[in-house]
Amino acid sequence: MATSSFQPKNKLVKWFDQQLPIISLLHGAVGPGYPCPKNLNYWWNFGSLAGFFLGVQILTGIVLAMHYVPQQDLAFDSVEHIMRDVNYGWLLRYMHANGASMFFLVVYIHIFRGLYYGSYKHPREVLWFLGLIIYLLMMATGFMGYVLPWGQMSYWAAKVITNLFSSIDLVIPGVGTTIVQWLWGGFSVGEPTLNRFFALHYLLPFVIAAVVVLHIWALHIQGSNNPLGIDVKGPQDQIPFHPYYTAKDALGLGIAMILFAVLVFYAPNFLGHTDNYIKANPLQTPPEIVPEWYYLPFYAILRSIPNKLIGVIALFTSILILFAMPWLDRSKVRSARFRPVFKVFFWIWVVDVLVLGHIGSQPTDKILFSAGSFSVNYVLFGQVFTFYYFLHFFVIVPLVGIFEKPKPLPESISKAVLKTGGAAAIVALMLLPMVGGSHQAYAAEGTPVPPKQHWSFQGPFGKYDRAAVQRGFQVYKEVCHTCHSLNYFAFRNLTQIGFSEAQAKAVAGEFMVQDGPDDNGDMYMRPGRLADHMPPPFPNDKAAKASNGGALPPDLSDIIKAREYHADYVYAILTHFGEEPPKDMKIQPGLNYNPYFPGGQIAMPPPLQPELVEYADGTSATLDQEAHDVATFLTWVSEPKLEARHALGFRVMAFLIVFTVLLYFTNKRLWARIKKQQ
């Protein structure tokens, strides 16, 4: 198979290749020298797509590491620095965060494709194992990467996942604890944990890249499987990889990049969790803790088993079972096209996995349905689907392999395939986990969903209403700043919302900022400058708590991104004080009723009232107006690069659409030759 047919014409290339045959290596690996089955369909695009997204992750990851600080007091701040101050930092971070989702998405489809067409069967078992090793490395890398921003979800993910190993205590007491402490480098997740996770998160992608090389090597030894699952009989069944599959892969890449760009530019936090915009707090677990969407099915399996050790064993088994597929499946026929029974069960299993993913995203005590006294909650629901998951591998696959009567196989690979209908179906399927994996449906029980408001920054062309942001800043400065800090906001930022430099300087000068030490070693106060950040109203969290009845007023820099429903939520909170609490709710002393606050009781007294500020631009300061303005301002502080993101997004989308259309026609014309030959 690996015969190199490379015959360089160019003398320089020939001279070089005689001494280091890297060009003929590439020629044989991904060039005209690699003969592929003629009939590979669009499901075969996902291998190269996975390689592409690995490249995206490595490139964006390396540059993010130039700005990220793996230190527990600075990690979160350094991510905010990347988002706010580093040139294109927002783009690189959003690409990296969503690139991980894209990478997992294409790898999942790649794995499903392998399972459907029997690519794991002889003679490709080693190829299959190498792929699974890549997947395991990806899971470890993705998990450790998620820890690095050191938000609430990061921290608690680190704690929960490392604690999986503590279940070993139930087999050999003490060993689990020892392993977990070894993983942490301490008695809880902390500084040493973050440092080693960063080191490993930087290392593992290169290990993945190395295993990818082995994966491709193994692929070239036996050659690609194909949709018919039958062996290639000779050259008449094959076409060179380049240009046919490079063109086809490029078209798939164009489509995948459009999806990627939609996420990065228009929904960058859609697959993330709001709580990860809250700095890690080792003393408080978030009320809802969920992993990233790509781990949800396994998380559902873990949760559905009411025994710690067995739950962990089930979790690992659910993944490692894939290694046994070459032996669990006794059928000699590879492709599910000729396996009528297997095909049905395959799709049932896919649905089972997707449903498990959905279950994993929901709170366990949620009721699925109830009829009279009979009700099914998500735990039972999850148990049923977990049971089926294992039933599929341990019972259905082996039995079907033995008893199924396959359809007759064709004599040879006869027809080249170029059906764009298939591509459309694949695009639709790619969107599926995106929908199932979002964490939207999460209001605390009994808390109503805030009504949607109209905001200037909504939609793909949204921009901040400068006047509203400026008025909102006035409300923040005169009202909210009494208790709430705004630590990531610098006075220089005001020039981005229509203030002149002189105006911004004047605003900065209204605040006193601590500086020093001076020549005598003393700290001193001086008027603020443009480079200064907004000084906090209290010197530290303890002072803030002491002055606010024991409740800490949260920093507002990220509040819009850190709360479900974002600006709508903040607006609803601000405008719904003073309502009559439900009869059965006893309001604790020092708390106030607010229907939109989770639990209904908030420590903050009603902050706004009509005419509380006198707007410089003469706008009438109604309560609604104030709330709307301050929510607009806080959205801008949370996401100052939104306008740059929308503007660049438009250009990137326009480019990608034109490029993909060109790729479509190039590809179509190229393959027309093959079709004509049939």
């Binding site: 060039g31 040139n87 020549d519 034109v658």
Partner: protein, 182 residues
């Protein structure tokens, strides 16, 4: 458009290039090149670094003949209270004979105060001469210990490998005893 029917997979891999595939490849190359820019630009100074560009200094406590070093943009800035003799030395130099010809008047706002970036223009070391007793070279200014460049009392290069005078940062006098650099 479809008159050519090249043989599929000929050994030399040659197929007729047409406008469509060239345009597609060219557009792809343009896109890839444009993508590189954010990866490069992220290494430029970030917005917060650019904003940290001014330092206020109290110069009232510096006696004539002495100097202090302050930090501006992470670099040392020499603030030297020159004596009458030093000012005269600086003013009496034949400008045309200098390697980097600049009059002393063009390098100061007030003759008593010389403010220069304390970084040798050769390869970035900090020259000696700030503290009493440090080597100042033959021209009574600064002497760079790395490769022997010598600067005069106006911070101009007089001898050694450095190509240019010590840079004068942007600064202004807030009042008689305070300056703001940057």
């Amino acid at each position: 458009m479809t008159t050519s029917q090249p043989v599929v997979g000929t050994p030399d891999g040659k197929t007729r290039r047409d406008f469509l595939s060239v345009a597609t490849a060219a557009l792809g190359a343009v896109g890839a090149a444009a993508t590189v820019w954010p990866l490069i630009d992220q290494m430029n100074p970030s917005a917060d670094v650019l904003a940290l560009s001014s330092t206020e200094v109290d110069i009232s406590a510096i006696p004539a003949g002495q100097a202090i070093t302050v930090v501006w943009r992470g670099q040392p800035v020499f603030v030297r209270h020159r004596t009458e003799k030093e000012i005269k030395e600086a003013q009496d130099v034949k400008v045309a004979a200098l390697r980097d010809p600049q009059t002393d008047a063009s390098r100061v706002l007030k003759p008593e105060w010389l403010i220069v970036v304390g970084v040798c223009t050769h390869l970035g070391c900090v020259p000696l001469g700030q503290k009493p007793g440090e080597k100042r070279g033959d021209y009574d200014g600064w002497y760079c210990p790395c490769h022997g460049s010598e600067y005069d009392t106006s911070g101009r290069i007089r001898q050694g490998p450095a190509p240019a005078n010590l840079a004068v940062p942007p600064y202004s006098f807030l009042d008689d005893s305070h300056i703001r650099i940057g």
